[in-house]
């Protein structure tokens, strides 16, 4: 199959698009390297005793969140997405936060709802 479509539906590739994509590619490669470094950092941080296991957990989750932001923001293009997608994710964030809040609340009231 050739590089260029042969049908009536043609793809318009102009110089501007090519330049924009090259810029994107450079960014993707930088993000990829940052994610790999972040992974090494996560393992390194887990081998260090920060004084308590809770602090180790917080450090690991902060690094994971930064990595998550890089994936969602740049690979999934969320930093330049349309309003409707933000609205969908806004609802998701609301219910996701509620889910975790309920979990934490249930732990704080474990004796009332008899989790143990």
């Amino acid at each position: 199959m050739s590089d260029h479509p042969t049908s009536t539906q043609t793809l318009h590739v102009d110089e501007h698009t090519v330049e924009e994509m090259r810029h994107h590619i450079r960014r993707y490669l930088i993000v990829g390297v940052a994610l790999a470094i972040g992974t090494a950092l996560t393992v390194w941080a887990s081998l260090i005793n920060f004084g308590s296991r809770e602090i180790n957990i917080v450090v690991a989750l902060i690094i994971a969140s930064v990595k998550g932001f890089l994936v969602v923001g740049f690979f999934m293009h969320l930093i330049s997405e349309k309003k409707m997608i933000y609205a969908v994710l806004g609802f998701t964030a609301f219910f996701f936060t509620g889910l975790f809040a309920l979990t934490l609340w249930s732990m704080a009231h474990a004796s009332i709802i008899q989790i143990r």
């Binding site: 479509p5 049908s7 994107h24 590619i25 393992v43 690979f75 975790f100 309920l102 732990m107």
Partner: protein, 279 residues
């Protein structure tokens, strides 16, 4: 009848149908994995003191898999960018690497799963605990594929004799707590037991304890997503590649949507890795 906005974006939202669809689907996936992460938190926080396992998984295999998935995410966006520039051959090359990465990930995961299924905790009738990997060649006790503990309260599996041998390459933890956090790189030895000495024997399958239960649930569900993503990317890459000739914009949209799903799979693993392997 042609479905509107399957290729071109709706003027009011600026989005084509499939893009809205995949984001709605990913939103539901966030809630699915979110519920399982909440289950993990509840199980862990409510585990008795010192009874939550640590160092049960191979960190280096987990880290390798993380790097493999990150690399595959990079090749997915590079393949999409290649199509936007009209470079179909380059797209094919990048996506073939993506598929290869998916297979490597699943291969490593299979090795890890196998390790858990041949890893046994054996409680002897005198109360001692032996823990290690079953040496099948030297073991005469019939051990077939099983989805439950092999020996419970001294009841041997069908066809087994009290004189049958069980050989492990393992160690002798002093108690249950020591078993929860084995010292890194501890020495192992060959442990030979007879079936009559054994009170209970079970491998580290999902039924072993709450940790292995949530580990297999989370990673198993994630692996299903990897398989699904791999199938979709392969289908677009291979059998559906003719769409590029017929309608390139539509083809690019398909690659973008499958890519969004793949990045989500990567995103979930970014959180699973520290939660299950490191903390």
């Amino acid at each position: 009848m042609e479905i509107p906005y399957a290729v071109k974006a709706r003027p009011d939202t600026g989005l084509y149908n499939a893009k809205v669809g995949i984001w709605l689907f990913l939103a539901s996936e966030v809630m699915l994995f979110g519920a399982l992460f909440c289950s993990y938190i509840l199980l862990r926080v409510n585990a008795p003191e010192g009874m939550w396992p640590h160092h049960w998984l191979n960190i280096w295999l987990g880290m390798t898999n993380t790097i493999v998935l990150i690399f595959s995410s990079v090749t997915v966006v590079l393949s999409w960018a290649s199509l936007k520039m009209g470079q179909f051959k380059r797209y094919k090359f990048y996506q073939s690497i993506t598929i290869l990465c998916a297979l490597i990930f699943l291969g490593i995961k299979s090795v890890e799963y196998h390790d858990k299924f041949v890893h046994y905790k054996v409680v002897l009738t005198d109360g001692r605990i032996a823990d290690g990997h079953l040496q099948k060649a030297e073991t005469t006790l019939p051990v077939s594929w099983h989805l439950q503990p092999l020996i419970v309260d001294g009841r041997l599996p069908k066809g087994a004799k009290p004189t049958d041998k069980v050989v492990l390459e393992g160690w002798w933890p002093k108690d249950e707590t020591a078993l929860m956090d084995p010292p890194l790189g501890h020495a192992t030895e060959s442990i030979e037991l007879t079936a009559s000495q054994i009170k209970s024997m079970e491998n580290y399958g999902p039924w072993h304890n709450t940790y292995t239960g949530i580990y297999f649930t989370l990673t198993g569900l994630h692996a299903l997503h990897v398989i699904a993503g791999c199938i979709v990317i392969f289908a677009i890459w291979g059998p559906l590649a003719k769409v590029w000739e017929q309608d390139p914009e539509h083809y690019i949209n398909r690659v973008e949507v499958s890519g969004l799903f793949w990045h989500f799979v990567d995103l979930v693993w970014i959180f699973l890795f520290p939660v299950l392997y490191l903390l």
